[in-house]
């Protein structure tokens, strides 16, 4: 039996996805995009063209993965000189998340990229651990371990960090 959502027209389906536009803008802004609105618009355009792939229950994990790929492209272009290759993945240097209290931002930036991203996905992007695991392409159990470690490291870093340092970070 078809669920009510399966019988939606394409535009109605996309309307459900498009409701997450603000979340995608915020995701891109927090990861230092120079043009988060453009990243979000391009993400939505891709979602429209790949609509059958986008889960309707909560499209944010799919949208965040797409936005992250676009962010990598944006940062590669912007910061080619600072890009380094490691483990077949491009790590790029970006400015830190916008709008975070400086002391907390410094503690966040001091974390390893994977730990920081785990923390941001849950605390700032408001994803459940299961959804955040989908964004990072790991299983939920592995994500919970990473989040546990990240929370502990973050609190420890908060105690240590007093003076603002560099506000550059790598996107996980």
């Amino acid at each position: 039996m078809r669920s009510p959502r399966e019988s939606l027209s394409a535009e109605q389906r996309f309307r459900v996805v498009f409701a997450s536009l603000g979340a995608v803008v915020a995701y891109a802004r927090r990861r230092g995009s120079s043009d988060p609105e453009a990243i979000a618009a391009e993400t939505m355009m891709i979602a429209w063209r790949r609509l059958a792939d986008v889960p309707l229950d909560d499209p944010r994990p799919w949208l965040f993965v797409t936005a992250r790929n676009l962010l990598h492209a944006e940062h590669r272009k912007r910061s080619r000189a600072t890009a380094v290759l490691s483990d077949d993945r491009v790590k790029v240097v970006s400015t830190g998340p916008a709008g975070i209290e400086p002391r907390v931002l410094n503690a966040l930036i001091s974390l390893p990229p994977h730990d920081r991203e785990a923390l941001m996905l849950v605390a700032l992007d408001d994803l459940t651990p299961a959804m955040a695991a989908r964004v990072l392409g790991i299983n939920a159990n592995a994500f919970r371990v990473r989040l546990f470690r990240a929370r502990r490291r973050f609190l420890a870093a908060l105690d240590e960090v007093d003076v603002p340092r560099s506000t550059e970070m790598e996107i996980a």
């Binding site: 389906r13 603000g22 618009a41 429209w48 063209r49 272009k77």
Partner: protein
């Protein structure tokens, strides 16, 4: 359920602005473009009109006894009828084909099925027209032609961005048709590419498949798709020295 102090602390420190939840102009601009060919209604937003156009084209063909030799005329008629058109004169999507520019731009062989043909034309408004004729003789995206972008004439990505930024300009602009052959899905990509230098070949980095480029910017390529739930192509364009002159993963400098 208690929230971990680290999460609470981080949320309290977040001073980023609340994002606007909707942008109707952006929504309208996006859904005016071709959607996912796997969802029939995304590219058939004006389905009844398009069916009527297709029937009119079919009746015209039957009436004139058109044969295979008349396919150029057939493509011209298709672009003149412009099933993709929004029907609103003056809108960006109301593009008018230049009939003399209609040409058979590229062919692509689908194993076990035959040859698909990409028909291309320019428009008076600076856009382009595209249609994919499947080995069965049907137009992809039209009745009998299965899933695919509805044929017709489109504005360029640069033109669309003129109304407000939607696309990252990578040099690539293409449409997609789907064909199932003996249970295997093929994605046929056809369109235009503009590189920093004249382009001679397009390669999909994911599958390793490649296709020649005609007139420096027109291509069609078929990719077998073992997993239709993934977006698994990444095209790059090469010049005659084998140098990458456009990469859809990067903005075109």
């Amino acid at each position: 359920m208690t929230v971990h102090p680290a999460i609470t602390r981080l949320r309290a420190a977040d001073r980023s602005p609340q994002e606007s939840p909707t942008d109707e102009r952006l929504f309208t601009r996006i859904v005016a473009t071709p959607g996912d060919p796997r969802l029939g209604s995304t590219h058939n937003r004006r389905g009844r009109r398009r069916v009527a156009v297709a029937m009119a084209v079919g009746v015209a063909l039957i009436g004139t006894g058109a044969a295979w030799a008349a396919v150029t005329s057939d493509a011209t008629h298709l672009f003149l009828s412009n099933p993709q058109d929004s029907g609103k004169p003056g809108s960006l999507w109301h593009q008018s084909v230049i009939a003399s520019s209609v040409n058979r731009a590229a062919t692509v062989r689908i194993p076990g099925s035959g040859t698909a043909v990409f028909w291309y034309a320019k428009t008076r408004q600076g856009g382009w027209c595209a249609a994919l004729r499947l080995p069965s003789g049907h137009w992809s995206g039209m009745p009998g032609g299965g899933s695919g972008t509805v044929p017709g004439c489109f504005p360029t990505r640069t033109q669309i961005n003129g109304l407000g930024k939607v696309y990252v300009i990578t040099g690539f602009d293409y449409e997609e048709g789907l064909l199932t052959v003996k249970g295997h899905l093929w994605r046929i990509y056809y369109g235009v590419v503009d590189g920093k230098q004249p382009v001679v070949r397009v390669i999909d980095r994911e599958s390793g498949r490649s296709a020649p480029v005609k007139d420096g910017h027109l291509f069609a390529i078929a990719i077998p798709d073992a997993d239709p739930t993934t977006d698994s192509v990444r095209f790059v364009a090469l010049d005659n020295h084998g140098t990458v002159v456009a990469d859809e993963a990067h903005p075109l400098n």
